[in-house]
């Protein structure tokens, strides 16, 4: 409404030249936007956002019923509009600026972000993403009785690990330090299932990358040792495991 009026003012008054820079400044001054008020509004909106997140910490349960994410996005857009219209005074400025900014955000930026989300994360993966792993995968929990965290050091080169056999206790926090002494990148990949069920996990590229080591560097990473058993570990750079770059870690 306010915007409408200011525009009418600018066209109705023949002495008023909205293109003129000095006149434009005057128009902003005349409008006397209450900048402190805008700040208070921004602060209140932020406080609402934060409390929504604190009260409904996840997308499940009560949070889902009130449409937590759409609400948060709505509040964000409201805040963004306040900043754009008042602090960047697009509300009082030439519409040409709004067209450029609108083209950036509305015509190209936003559609790109939305289509990327749909194109790259198909909905069927949603459950997986919430769990943070494959469906049904159980993450081992650290067991304080299993002993202090242990650091296992090994070297990787073409195409071997040295040592090729490692050991840890179930539930123990394990840190891996993979030193790459070869001439191409190597990594340390471990499947979630033991050798008994998965003798050659590299065939299906089963497992998570624990550490990766580019040439002449030390790749670090860690995991909580899973249930007892012998687990294979390998390098999943194509061809490396097949050439013999794998080993066994025994969990007791």
């Amino acid at each position: 409404m306010e915007q409408e009026q200011s525009f009418q003012r600018s066209t109705a008054d023949p002495h008023h030249d909205p293109g003129d820079f000095v006149a434009e400044e005057k128009r902003i001054q005349q409008a006397k936007p209450n900048y402190v008020g805008v700040f208070v509004a921004l602060a209140i909106l932020t406080a609402i956002e934060i409390s929504i997140t604190l009260i409904f910490p996840s997308e499940e349960g009560a949070g889902a019923t009130i449409g937590r994410v759409p609400l948060l996005l709505f509040l964000t857009v409201a805040k963004a509009l306040l900043v754009i219209l008042y602090y960047m005074h697009l509300k009082f400025d030439s519409r040409l600026y709004s067209y450029f900014f609108g083209a950036g955000v509305l015509a190209f930026g936003l559609p790109f972000v939305i289509s990327m989300i749909f194109l790259m994360s198909p909905p069927q993966l949603a459950s997986q993403r919430h769990e943070g792993g494959a469906p049904g995968e159980q993450r081992p929990t650290p067991n304080p009785n299993a002993g202090p965290p242990v650091t296992l050091k090994l070297q990787g080169f073409e195409f071997e690990f040295d040592p090729g056999a490692l050991a840890a206790n179930s539930g123990q926090v394990v840190r891996i330090e993979l030193q790459n002494t070869g001439s191409v990148e190597h990594n340390f990949v471990m499947p979630s299932e033991p050798v008994a069920t998965l003798p050659e996990p590299w065939v299906t590229n089963n497992g998570t990358v624990i550490a990766k080591a580019p040439v002449a560097s030390v790749g670090k990473g860690g995991f909580t040792a899973p249930a007892p058993g012998d687990y294979a570990f390998y390098c999943n750079v194509p061809g490396h495991a097949l050439a013999g770059m794998h080993g066994i870690i025994s969990i007791k």
């Binding site: 600018s10 066209t11 030249d17 909205p18 293109g19 003129d20 820079f21 000095v22 400044e25 902003i28 001054q29 900048y35 402190v36 805008v38 700040f39 921004l42 602060a43 932020t46 956002e49 934060i50 997140t53 604190l54 994410v69 948060l72 996005l73 509040l75 964000t76 805040k79 963004a80 900043v83 754009i84 008042y86 602090y87 960047m88 030439s94 519409r95 040409l96 600026y97 067209y99 450029f100 900014f101 083209a103 950036g104 955000v105 190209f108 930026g109 936003l110 790109f112 972000v113 990327m116 989300i117 790259m120 994360s121 993403r129 943070g132 792993g133 993450r139 990766k212 990473g221 860690g222």
Partner: protein, 216 residues
Amino acid sequence: MSAVGKLEKAGDRVGSHMEQVVSEAQVQPEHAETTTGLDHRKLLIWVFIASETIFFASLMATYLVFRGKTPPQDGLAHLDLNVASINTFILLASSLTMVLALQSIESGKKGRLIGLLILTALLGALFLGGQALEYNELITNGVSIDTNLFGATFFTLTGFHGAHVAIGILWIIMLIIRALRGGISQHNHLAVELGGLYWHFVDLVWVVLFTIIYLI
């Protein structure tokens, strides 16, 4: 009238409307510095900001498509909502001081301008300090840029935003120096406005980042 003629006429009408948008009022040529009456530099800044929106849109898309691929305990859980919330308030406050700085020079209060600009730069620095605190927390918990996808996307996205804040601080410092040397006055303060536009845009990006990283 032929169909083509009608199309041409319709096109002409839309064209004249666009023209009206481009120059809302026809300025007298001998007085006009520019065709649209808008300053070159301000137009440049706005088009540049439009370009920057796509830059951050691409980074945000990267963050969002990889969101959830890393288990929270390996990344997201180490973020502190308190620090981020305080940081948000700091940056919003810096936007307020920036716009008040512009308002002061518009009414010729140069001393107030310099004071508010210094305050803005300090708030910006404080924001960067908060970010450093956050990075430190993550790194001591073993989450760095090469640990996992969360680390990679988080550090890249907030890092580029932080870099923009840092450039904004440098820009404001240059404005302060210029104001002290008498280069800014009531009738010559476009530089403050341009710096302000950039600063508010960086603030705007944070408003969105805060939601997609910490809240959703």
